[in-house]
């Protein structure tokens, strides 16, 4: 891997994020900046990526590690280009979430938590994503896919085949708003 450094665009965004907090409270920027790092550095937070976050925010590396390891959305190991997160808590379970997971497992020939050998898809089961009224659902990148059926899952996975969804956090948020 080449040296892990934020792009100049990202550094400009980080500067704007830090400006949201009072003087000296720049540690508050840690979660948003970790999201940026994950989007920029292949969808996961390697120790090098976390060190880079620590460097730009002037924090100790341990302060970044301890926070990154607390939150579910931060991946501490590599993921595929499409991270498929299927909700399986109560309302989704009532509407067939387990069957959706089995369907995807069969289709991609991987189990929950695994990545396809070509590095395209990672399947992960997650807890309630707030889509209970439109269950079952899955999230890919930052996008919600709701009221799933087997057919719908098939066509979504088909369109994902050629895309790198790891950067969708960048796409979804208008950088200008930072």
């Amino acid at each position: 891997m080449s040296e892990v450094k934020f792009s100049n665009d990202s550094l400009a965004v980080i500067e704007k994020i830090v400006a949201r907090y009072p003087e000296g409270k720049h540690k508050s920027a840690l979660l948003p900046v970790l999201h940026l790092a994950q989007a920029e550095f292949d969808g996961w937070l390697s120790p090098e990526a976390m060190d880079e976050v620590a460097r730009v925010l002037n924090l100790k590396s341990i302060e970044v590690y301890e926070v990154a390891s607390f939150y579910t959305m931060f991946n501490l190991s590599p993921v595929g280009k499409c991270l498929i997160e299927v909700c399986r808590t109560s309302s989704c379970w009532l509407k067939g979430a387990n069957e959706i997971v089995e369907h995807i497992e069969k289709k991609l020939n991987i189990k929950d938590g695994e990545t396809t050998p070509d590095g395209m898809f990672t399947l992960k089961t997650v807890e309630c994503l707030g889509s209970c009224g439109t269950a079952p659902m899955m999230m890919i990148g930052a996008q919600f896919h709701e009221n799933l059926t087997y057919d719908k899952v098939d066509s979504i996975l088909e369109t994902c085949k050629t895309e790198d969804k790891r950067k969708t956090y960048f796409d979804q948020v208008n950088i200008e708003h930072y």
Partner: protein, 447 residues
């Protein structure tokens, strides 16, 4: 049709945009508050309204506001809790994505009332697509002079920011949320001191749920008394209910508190009855944390009256036969549902979401999940049911934050009301294979 206060303009095309929102009476509460009222008068109106926290606890909002310390020369903050993560709850997501300006307006009016220097909206990371909706609304509010320096020439300066979380249920607990907003792990703080005294960055802070903040808008526009006249008794106003599960019309409904539970489930105006004409088996009325109730107990109070959608009526009978309104996450289960399997999804959830700070919760949630897994795997014993009961009883009340109670109550209520199902799984493990949601599989096949 019941009265609508938050979703009154939900049907208006383009209500997401500033011009449309403004043309439909938007930002009037800010004008009214800043131009004609003192901050204390705004707090007084909210007190009069009887508004109670809509995140789940139901604590009187006006009283919470009046606790805010106001030492000279110290910044004060208002933080909006948009970390909506309680399973079964999706009302804040609906409101923010459809009428984002009502939250921005509420944050400004509330910020004025509290003399806040800045406001933060802490939104759960999975709602990332809503961040850009809120950012756009905030930008429009700045452009039109509702945010920034010297708002409406009053000398009131106020900035508003969105902060994104990263997937931790615990950050919906207000002190964990503040820790997270400060860039730390979301471990709840020991109270006291309460956030009203020492909150964000050690400064006096008020933390309110999205729906609570939004309700401030109609309260200031129409007056606290007018708001208090809606609803029933101490359950003043309207409530957003997230309806999900085995019903014909899942979705978010704004109800006037006091309608009957029966009406809410079966009327076409709301849930439209149980799918495929099946029988109602059980309801989790206020998000995963509140006790599950069987059909007869959710429809009828111990006194034999029809149960109402209100804080008081839902809790009538205590935990022996009642439940709680909570966050309004209303999960409906039909007669095919296995209560034990559903409970397993809750137990897994709380195990995953425990922050690990307090031993009873850290160890207990994992233990309960494992025992339920064992029972569902066909290896359970009758003693395991007693053990489950014992563990939940030892978590409840013994943790820093309410996550412990929230993990204990679903287990306790499932055993209390559906013990025979646990025993059936233990005694006839071969029956387990028959329990499956064929109904849902059929739905999944037919698009």
């Amino acid at each position: 049709m019941g009265k609508k206060l938050l979703l009154a303009n939900d049907h208006v095309p383009g209500i997401k945009n500033y011009e449309v929102y403004r043309a439909n009476g938007g930002y009037k509460s800010v004008e009214k508050a800043i131009k004609t009222m003192s901050p204390d008068a705004v707090v007084e109106e909210v007190k009069k309204s009887g508004l109670r926290g809509r995140g789940g606890a139901g604590f009187p909002t006006g009283m919470k506001w009046s606790f805010l310390a106001k030492p000279e020369g110290v910044a004060r903050y208002i933080v909006c809790n948009a970390d909506e993560s309680e399973p079964g709850t999706f009302k804040d997501r609906y409101l923010m994505s459809r009428i984002p300006h009502i939250l921005i307006e509420g944050m400004i009016t509330s910020g004025f009332a509290l003399g806040a220097t800045a406001g933060y909206i802490y939104i759960r990371g999975e709602y990332f697509y809503i961040v850009s909706i809120l950012e756009k609304a905030i930008e429009e509010a700045y452009q039109n002079g509702w945010l920034g320096k010297n708002i409406l020439g009053s000398g009131f300066d106020y900035d508003l920011y969105v902060q994104v979380g990263a997937g931790a249920y615990i950050c919906g607990e207000e002190t964990a949320l503040l820790e997270s907003l400060e860039g730390k792990r979301g471990n709840p703080r020991i109270k006291p001191p309460f956030p009203a005294i020492a909150g964000l960055y050690g400064c006096p802070t008020v933390v309110n749920n999205v729906e609570t903040i939004a309700a401030v808008v109609p309260i200031i526009n129409e007056g606290g008394e007018a708001y208090a006249a809606v609803g029933i008794g101490k359950s003043a106003g309207t409530k957003l209910i997230s309806a999900s599960g085995h019903i014909n019309k899942p979705g978010v409904y704004e109800i006037e508190m006091g309608i009957t539970v029966e009406d809410f489930i079966y009327s076409d105006e709301y849930c439209g009855g149980i799918i495929n004409g099946r029988k109602l088996k059980a309801v989790v009325a206020g998000g995963s944390s509140v006790p599950i109730l069987p059909a007869d107990k959710i429809l009828t109070t111990p006194a034999g009256e029809k149960r109402l959608m209100s804080y008081e009526s839902l809790s009538e009978g205590g935990f022996a036969s009642g439940t709680m309104l909570g966050s309004g996450g209303f999960i409906v289960m039909d007669e095919t549902t296995s209560i034990v399997q559903n409970l397993h999804t809750f137990a897994r959830f709380y195990h995953h979401e425990s922050c690990g700070q307090c031993s009873p919760c850290r160890e207990g949630t994992g233990w309960m999940e494992k025992i339920l897994h064992k029972i569902l795997d066909g290896h359970g014993t009758m003693a395991d049911i007693e053990l489950l009961w014992e563990i939940q009883a030892k978590i409840e009340g013994n943790t820093i934050c309410p996550l412990g109670d929230a993990a204990a109550w679903p287990v306790a209520s499932a055993i209390r009301h559906f013990r025979s199902e646990f025993e059936e799984f233990v005694q006839n493990p071969t029956n387990l294979k028959k329990v499956r949601h064929y109904e849902s599989v059929n739905q999944l096949v037919s698009a």
